[in-house]
Symmetry: C2
Subunit: 466 residues, 2 copies
């Protein structure tokens, strides 16, 4: 990777001439927040040479053309809420922050499309839709701070994916700056498109390695009139998880079906300093349903209650959404409060295999005497297993963690699962990707990366090694 | 394109050793049905050198490796129901028919996934799901004869895309043979996946130019318990089309919203020899809604009735689904009965622009004195405009058609629309693709094609010129 050049004074001056002096930062204090994402280990930090804050796609185009000419890595960055070190400049170069591109450009109520710049916070997208009686279905747990551009780049998932899909399903089109510096709109305000290869979906989830998203065309739908939240509490992880397919086959299409194991429940309770129901032994399934007809939703609640209580559940409570979602969304933060260094796995398996993987993780936790907390987007088969370092010696941790991951993912792949359901590969899972991804699939990904980014300047060292 | 070699006796013998003598055809009578798809003009026909009928992905892998070694085009083909000449061997070589790969392999009720070979008819996929109380949402008009592999390769749309999306939204994974002959599974029984580039969605819709689909993992959902069909009749195309956004913003998410202009209604009536309601002057909007709660559906019917009759509709009828869908689905056949040579355009525009494009088409029809029938998947902005040659002189037709298309698509692109909503580009729209697609997008598509198919043997001359 020594092929890259350093960012010298001449390049800094060129960058200043493109975006304005005020928006080219080299002061170490200003660079520090851009040296990491939500992953806190020092080996996953790297201070960039320069942070640039462009305002337009045209400015980005010029920066990328300059970077190609000079062989400088360009690392696009949203709010820095990533969990796979996808927006850290490990090979030096330019961090290109989209934080000034923060305008919602249009809410097209006729076509049910919102056009937005990439640096708008997810929560602002949701609110702007709601203000028009409309609904944006993307809802990652980090939505209060994450940017919509980053959501698309990592194909962020979240709590409503059960019914509405992950971020890629919310995207009708994007404008990007390509790795060669061209500006192009892919897709648009269209509901359907069979006009050649679906590049929109190739770029969505490509974590900034195939281009920089400069505009998004997001799908909206009428805002469901009602929403109800249930908390079903079970005596064991297994009984909790086993209820999920029963709900999914009942004809109800829930918005969310979340699982928290008892260790996570207690950890969140401690962190929030708020008593949670039956926290001494309860494993949680949180279910949200939405729709326009309140009677139908009430009938669905009754059905869910019956299903849970006749299948071993302690009880089903109508939940205060603020309280229960505060608990669920504090999962990662609560774990981090307990152990700043941890490894947040983002396992995805066929939904029917969740019990197997959760049992396996429990076995591994005991075998290695390491604490692992599990929460899951249960109906999606997406398990967040947080392996906590706690007070383990760092050398021991560095030795054990790869063994634990190896054991987990060997089993995950034997179940037909994969490395990441919604966080992405980034830099953090690069070695696991080389180890576990199908070699033909890897070869195809590398061929595409080389074809679209011949100088490998666009977020190098992420997703695949080329 | 002279770089390709001819299929000689030695190659025929190798093919026979791979799939068995019985499944390698060179007899002209047997080749003829493989010389065209549903497009009937002689310039869109080409007899292949050989038709091969493999049974397994392993056999296909061997065929593709042989084709790379010998530089022979390989054209994958499903049921031949395409409308863009995507499965015709214009550069000679091998037609690779998937008709023997016709088994449904598994219906996984736990994970709501059907695993199927590519040569299963769409209607059989639908029926097999229904038999288990489940639902496969893909529903192209050609579903009685089309193959599921072809549906995925062209990202077929159809009538239920309003609510459920086109075929790509139904696909959780595929097994393919790559253009270099490797076998790989992309995606699988997963509900979410952020493990690198989304190759499943790149291959879906790539019309056999980036690989051959040998297995599909299709999403299923619980079968809606009820379905209701309404026929709303309007005095003008404009008043009919204008009702569509009103329905879409009412909170109802219909399964289908179809438009047929009066000329199409009358053409279908003549073809079917069955009286259709108010056919003398009526323009049709056909609406289907589905769901589990009959009362909710009845309320929605009342709301739709009110919306239509207060917005200029003649009347709203509860429709006999067999009768009304027979009429709608006969659209293409009825047109062909009237004019064997026709050009079936597959325009897609932002839904709010449908009235504009339909008006423009009407103007163009008058300007060139040519009959154009329009039916539309109206809520999707997808307009099928069938330009009929009728008794026009063929030279005149060959001169006029490009002028008409040029005028239509200049306007379509000015509206933010594209060449194809669901039929694909194939060979038929190759020149239009070069003319109208964004040059950067084209460059990206060509780079991907070259990267994944370095010898350009996989369905050459389709989608993009490389």
């Amino acid at each position: 990777m020594s092929k890259y050049k350093s960012v010298n004074t001449a390049i800094i001056n060129e960058l200043k001439s493109i975006v304005g002096e005020k928006y080219v930062w080299t002061d170490p204090d200003k660079l520090e927040p851009y040296s990491h994402d939500e992953v806190m280990e020092s080996k996953y930090k790297k201070t960039p040479e320069v942070v640039v804050l462009p305002r337009t796609a045209e400015e980005i185009s010029k920066i990328v053309k300059l970077a190609n000419q000079e062989l400088i890595p360009v690392v696009p960055r949203g709010a820095g809420t990533g969990l796979a070190c996808g927006a850290v400049a490990f090979y030096g170069g330019i961090i290109l922050s989209t934080e000034r591109m923060n305008q919602i450009l249009e809410i097209d109520e006729q076509n049910l499309i919102m056009v937005t710049e990439p640096g708008v916070r997810t929560v602002e997208v949701q609110k702007a839709a709601n203000d028009k009686g409309l609904f944006y279905a993307g809802d990652p747990c980090s939505g209060d701070s994450s940017f919509i551009g980053g959501n698309i780049a990592t194909n962020a998932g979240g709590n409503k994916a059960v019914k509405y899909g992950t971020t890629r399903q919310q995207v009708a089109g994007i404008e990007i700056v390509t790795p060669e510096g061209d500006i192009v709109t892919l897709g648009g305000k269209l509901k359907k498109d069979s006009t050649g290869y679906c590049l929109t979906q190739l770029i969505a989830g490509s974590e900034g390695t195939l281009g920089i998203i400069t505009k998004a065309y997001l799908k909206l739908s009428p805002l469901p009139k009602h929403e109800m939240h249930l908390l079903a509490i079970f005596p064991s992880a297994e009984s909790a998880i086993n209820i999920v397919p029963k709900i999914m086959h009942s004809g109800i299409i829930p918005t969310c079906v979340e699982f928290m194991d008892n260790k996570s429940v207690r950890c969140c309770e401690e962190f929030l300093e708020e008593k949670l129901p039956r926290s001494e032994s309860g494993h949680y399934i949180i279910i949200t349903i939405d729709g326009d007809n309140e009677t139908v939703l009430e009938d669905q609640c009754v059905l869910i209650d019956e299903l849970c209580t006749t299948n071993g559940g302690y009880e089903v409570l109508v939940a205060d959404p603020n309280k229960i979602w505060k608990a669920r969304k504090s999962f990662a933060e609560a774990d981090r409060a307990r152990s700043l260094i941890l490894s947040a796995e983002d396992i995805v398996v066929p939904p029917s295999k969740i019990t197997d993987i959760i049992k396996k993780i429990d076995d591994i936790s005991k075998k290695y005497d390491v604490r692992i907390h599990c929460a899951a987007h249960a109906a999606d088969g997406n398990v967040h297993a947080e392996i906590l370092k706690e007070n383990m010696d760092i050398e021991q941790w560095n030795k054990l963690l790869p063994l634990i991951q190896h054991e987990i993912y060997q089993y995950v792949y034997s179940l037909g699962g994969k490395l990441s359901g919604e966080h992405g590969i980034g830099y953090k899972r690069l070695d696991l990707m080389e180890e576990f991804a199908n070699p033909v699939e890897l070869k195809m990904m590398k061929a595409i990366k080389r074809a679209l980014d011949p100088n490998n300047i666009m977020n190098p060292g992420k997703i695949v090694k080329v």
